[in-house]
């Protein structure tokens, strides 16, 4: 195992631990980005270039942004005053320590694992594309269907409810929000008109 691998692994694990233990959620999201980038570097160190860059694109690029947006939309970006851990956090720590001990014991005590790294295989994008289009065509189609269904479902779930029931303080809040929008409606209309005029002007010139 090379020195670079050890350094990257330690950095990744520290960032992951920070992402799980910091108080401020924005700091947690940033540590998560570091941990995911470190994992991408580990993939690169293991000669899996395509997966490494896919990891950067998907996780560092998309999932981290999604998480930051969720933090901002749920207004939990301020540091909480109350406890950040569940009341019975000790049991959770013990369970995960037991899980780690079991996995580590299994990894360290198993014999017959290959000792040497075999020569680097040819894993070009062309090979991967060929395999995806021949041997793995069915999983690829299923993944496409799953992604479509999941993204449409995510939009539908996160869409605003049609008729919010006017109960408790929530209804009042929605009402005030609505009237605020109503007050600013003329302003919004005005800005829309100006932008439309600008677009038209540009189109006329070209």
């Amino acid at each position: 195992m090379s020195l670079a691998f050890i350094i990257i692994a330690i950095a990744t694990l520290f960032a992951a631990a920070a992402a799980m233990s910091l108080r401020n959620l924005v700091h947690c999201a940033l540590s998560l980005v570091v941990a995911l980038a470190g994992l991408a570097a580990l993939y690169l160190a293991l000669d899996a270039q395509f997966v490494g860059f896919a990891q950067i694109l998907v996780y560092v690029g998309a999932v981290a942004i999604l998480i930051v947006f969720a933090v901002l939309l749920t207004r939990s970006d301020a540091t909480p005053n109350q406890a950040i851990l569940a009341p019975d956090w000790f049991a959770g720590i013990v369970v995960s320590a037991v899980v780690f001990a079991t996995l580590g014991w299994a990894a360290l005590s198993s014999t017959g694992l290959p000792r040497e790294m075999p020569p680097a295989p040819v894993a070009t994008v062309k090979n991967i594309g060929d395999l995806l289009m021949t041997q793995y065509i069915l999983p690829l189609e299923v993944i496409g269907l799953l992604l479509t269904a999941a993204l449409i479902g995510a939009v539908i779930i996160a869409m605003k409810e049609e008729t919010p029931k006017s109960s408790s303080s929530r209804g009042n809040e929605a009402l005030t929000e609505k009237s605020e929008i109503g007050n600013r409606k003329s302003e919004i209309d005005q800005s829309l008109l100006t932008s439309a005029a600008m677009v038209q002007g540009k189109g006329g010139r070209s």
Partner: protein
Amino acid sequence: MTPLQGCLLVSALLFAIGLAGAVTRRNAILALVGIELMLNAANLNFIAFWRYGPNPEALSGMMVVIFSIAIAAAEAAVGLALIIAIYRHYRTVNLDEIKNLKG
């Protein structure tokens, strides 16, 4: 300790960190982050076994990881949409305060 065992230990520790965070943190977003970390630990195992395994030319471990990344992206999108819907309903994402079904 062989290099493969080192990879497996890193992955096991990452999984344990993710599990501890998902179980103990009160914020729903951080529970989701913990689940993502666990998925990534599994991916690291796949890549390690693919790299040190007897037949890396077949690229099977790599394919599993590509599909797993796609599934993880879908899971993150749906999970965060659920969290936003829950926040709109309860005005909180604290998992200890979300106790009612059909509330």
